[in-house]
């Protein structure tokens, strides 16, 4: 073997000095890094079982599962006929991220989907007041009620949204998704209260609340309380769910948001792992065995760039790193604890899309979906091409995104080989490189005291902002090329535009009226509920919140049952915990 390697190295040297040097002379704008060639010399001492392993086995480099459930073409084709391939969208699936205006508007939207044959539970987008812990009648909510998702002030809103989910689609038969972080425990309490009202045992509930507060400070911005108090809230939900709602995913940790905010690939991986470690440690510190709760951790999605080869390596590196953290650091024994389960795999991010010649975004999303399949994920082109237009996804864009995924699966047959790059000198080298850099960055965070400390001192936020600025500068200098934005923009190019022929399912007039309607209904509800009981529950909440060891979740269930509003609960908690003040970016 060593003798062979010597031979290969010698041949490599001869190649560099001979044919490569000649070629570089001929094309002086190139260098060896412009199109790097990897040989066995780049991958000395490669140990397949240690570095890659078989799909679905430690360290999961080759894949989370032994075989991709979507890989069977016969099954795919039968699903395709019914329009059921879990694509980026599609009108018959309720699982697309959605939520419009008032709870009534959202209920009607889901009702329509179910009438067309949709079967999935809702994947709820909440409006910003709900995400930030303000009621619809709060002055800070003005102009934002029902805008980027549905508004939820009280359990009454949940009761309305879930009206269509009855019978064989009741809460014990569907899975819900909640994109909610800072007030996640209140939303979880509402779901539990709704189930109790309907006589459905809590252990039958399936859902995924995002419940990933740490990345909100780094990337997404819908935080409320200081990080340490937010982690206590996380502990409360983790412990409560482990005990009473074992089929609810505790969290959906977002790598993608951090990348979207500007992080490099390595920062994204390191910061996401630092956050995951903080969450895992919370469970361990609460006295739980890691294998009791880690299998219920999920990841939202890793990914977010157009660099296909490196994104494939990144997915592989992420799986391996997480598995190592779980096994080596937390002593997990259950393989399910060590797996990264993500809703979607590699994909480009909305920040990779362009307003200019927007149909090009379909091409971009397809490249992301190809990266996903090549790295053990599903063909889910995301986002729909009209994402950057700011008008909401059109039905046409959703259809095309879904079709693109189907074409990848059914026509290109890209799923017929699992981890096709396994053992590739290039791919294994890049996987090692990305993982190594992420461990280094993670060590920096550990030295500061972990994720919470590195958020409190502003380190992660500043690093991400700095990277975002570098990215912008690279675009302006031309070091990063974006077609139609900073290159190929001449007068000879055709500025292809798009139009919308199919009406959006959400009537713009309803959207305009949503805020007033919701405020009126909230005012009525506040008049009708038992005000003294509300006051009593809030006073008790205040006292419980001040006791660090108390788990607030059972009390939150009592609060929401009495129609205490989300804003009232958050108001009391703000008083006890304080509010997070962001560090200066300078």
């Amino acid at each position: 073997m060593n003798e062979d390697l010597e031979k290969i190295k010698a041949a490599g040297k001869a190649w560099e000095e001979g044919p490569l040097a000649k070629a570089l002379q001929r094309f002086p704008y190139l260098n060896a890094e412009s199109a790097r060639f990897y040989s066995p010399a780049d991958l000395e001492d490669f140990d397949f079982l240690e570095k890659v392993g078989f799909p679905g086995t430690y360290p999961y480099t080759a894949g989370t599962f032994p075989i991709e459930p979507m890989a069977g073409l016969a099954r795919l084709a039968s699903m395709a006929g019914k329009g059921e391939i879990p694509g980026a969208g599609g009108q018959t699936r309720a699982a697309i991220y959605s939520g419009y205006g008032t709870p009534e508007d959202t209920r009607d939207y889901y009702k329509g989907l179910l009438e067309k044959g949709g079967r999935g539970g809702p994947n709820l987008a909440f409006d910003l007041p709900t995400q930030c812990g303000y009621d619809s009648d709060d002055p800070l909510s003005e102009g934002e009620v029902g805008k980027v998702g549905v508004c939820v002030d009280t359990l009454a809103d949940f009761e309305i949204i879930y009206e269509p989910y009855r019978g064989d689609l009741d809460l014990d038969n569907i899975a819900s998704n909640f994109t909610i972080n800072a007030p996640a425990n209140i939303i979880i309490a509402m779901y539990a209260a709704l189930a109790e009202e309907r006589g459905i045992p809590l252990d039958k509930l399936r859902a995924t609340p995002q419940n990933d507060i740490l990345k909100e400070y780094i990337a997404r911005g819908t935080y409320i309380f200081p990080p340490a108090h937010a982690l206590r809230m996380f502990r409360d939900s983790l412990v409560f769910m482990t005990e009473h709602m074992p089929n609810i995913n505790v969290t959906s940790i977002g790598g993608y948001h951090i990348r979207e905010a500007g992080a490099t690939r390595e920062q994204d991986l390191a910061f996401s792992m630092a956050n995951a470690i903080a969450y895992l440690q919370v469970g361990v510190d609460a006295g739980l065995n890691v294998d009791e709760f880690a299998p219920r951790f999920t990841f939202n999605a890793f990914g977010g760039s157009m660099e296909l080869i490196k994104e494939v390596a990144f997915q592989r590196a992420a799986r391996r790193m997480y598995a190592r953290i779980l096994r080596e650091r937390f002593g997990a024994k259950d393989p399910r604890s060590m797996r990264i389960r993500q809703a979607i795999g590699a994909h480009i991010g909305p920040s990779s899309t362009t307003l200019q010649r927007p149909l090009n975004n379909l091409t971009r999303a397809v490249i992301g979906a190809v990266a996903s399949v090549l790295s053990g994920g599903r063909p889910l082109p995301f986002p729909p091409y009209d994402e950057p237009l700011g008008l909401g996804w059109s039905v046409e864009a959703l259809q095309l995104a879904q079709d693109a995924g189907r074409i990848i699966a059914c026509e290109s047959r890209l799923l017929e080989c699992t981890d096709p790059f396994a053992g590739s000198y290039c791919m294994e080298s890049l996987t090692d490189e990305i993982e190594g850099a992420a461990w280094e960055e993670l060590e920096k965070i550990e030295k500061q005291g972990g994720a919470v400390a590195a958020i409190e001192n502003g380190y992660m936020q500043r690093e991400v902002s700095r990277s975002a600025y570098e990215r912008q500068r690279a675009m302006e200098s031309g070091a990063r090329l974006v077609v139609g934005v900073n290159c190929f923009t001449g007068e000879n190019e055709l500025e292809v535009s798009t139009n919308r022929l199919v009406a959006n399912p959400y009537d713009p007039e309803k959207r305009e009226q949503a805020e007033e309607k919701q405020k009126a209904r909230l005012a009525e509800l506040k008049r009708e509920r038992d005000g003294r009981e509300v006051a009593r529950l809030l006073a008790e909440l205040e006292s419980l919140a001040a006791q660090e060891e108390a788990n607030l979740l059972p009390h939150l269930v009592d609060c929401v049952k009495a129609y205490v509003t989300e804003g009232e609960i958050c108001g009391v908690l703000r008083g006890v915990f304080g509010e997070y003040k962001a560090a200066s970016p300078f």
């Binding site: 910003l128 303000y134 911005g221």
Partner: protein, 139 residues
């Protein structure tokens, strides 16, 4: 406005109105304008129109840059303009950056926004625009 010459460093307030937490665009612009020689003040998240007008007044800025990605731009700008008028700073240059559908750009300009910068904008474009509008040769 083009003939009013600002002496010394141009002061720019970058503000995030509303509840939208996507602040990387705001921070990137803040870094970029600072590097371009402007004095930059960043408000942080979740500022009300009153907060922003007060900050503009207190910091005596020449330009207010709003970063909005949530779709709430029309209502936010309408309220900010009213508050600025009340406080007697209705003539300050207001710029909007973020995700703004084409059809809303003229509506924002009618409300008094000087310019709207959407995705793909170079920071140098924004810097040049401000200098040009304020009649500055060298910031």
């Amino acid at each position: 406005m083009a003939d009013s010459v600002v002496k010394g460093k141009v002061r720019v307030l970058i503000a995030k109105p509303g509840l939208d937490g996507h602040d990387q665009g705001a921070k990137v612009i803040a870094y970029g304008l600072k590097d371009a020689g402007f004095e930059v003040i960043y408000t942080g998240l979740r500022r009300t129109p009153e907060d922003i007008a007060n900050a503009a007044l207190d910091e005596d800025v020449d330009v207010i840059g709003l970063s909005i990605l949530s779709g709430a731009h029309l209502s936010i700008v309408r309220r900010l303009m009213a508050v600025m008028d009340e406080k007697g700073i209705g003539d300050k240059m207001v710029l909007v950056g973020g995700i703004v559908p084409d059809e809303d750009i003229p509506r924002l300009k009618e409300m008094g926004v000087a310019e709207v910068f959407v995705s793909g904008t170079y920071i140098t474009q924004v810097a040049e625009y401000i200098k040009d509008k304020l009649g500055i040769v060298q910031a």
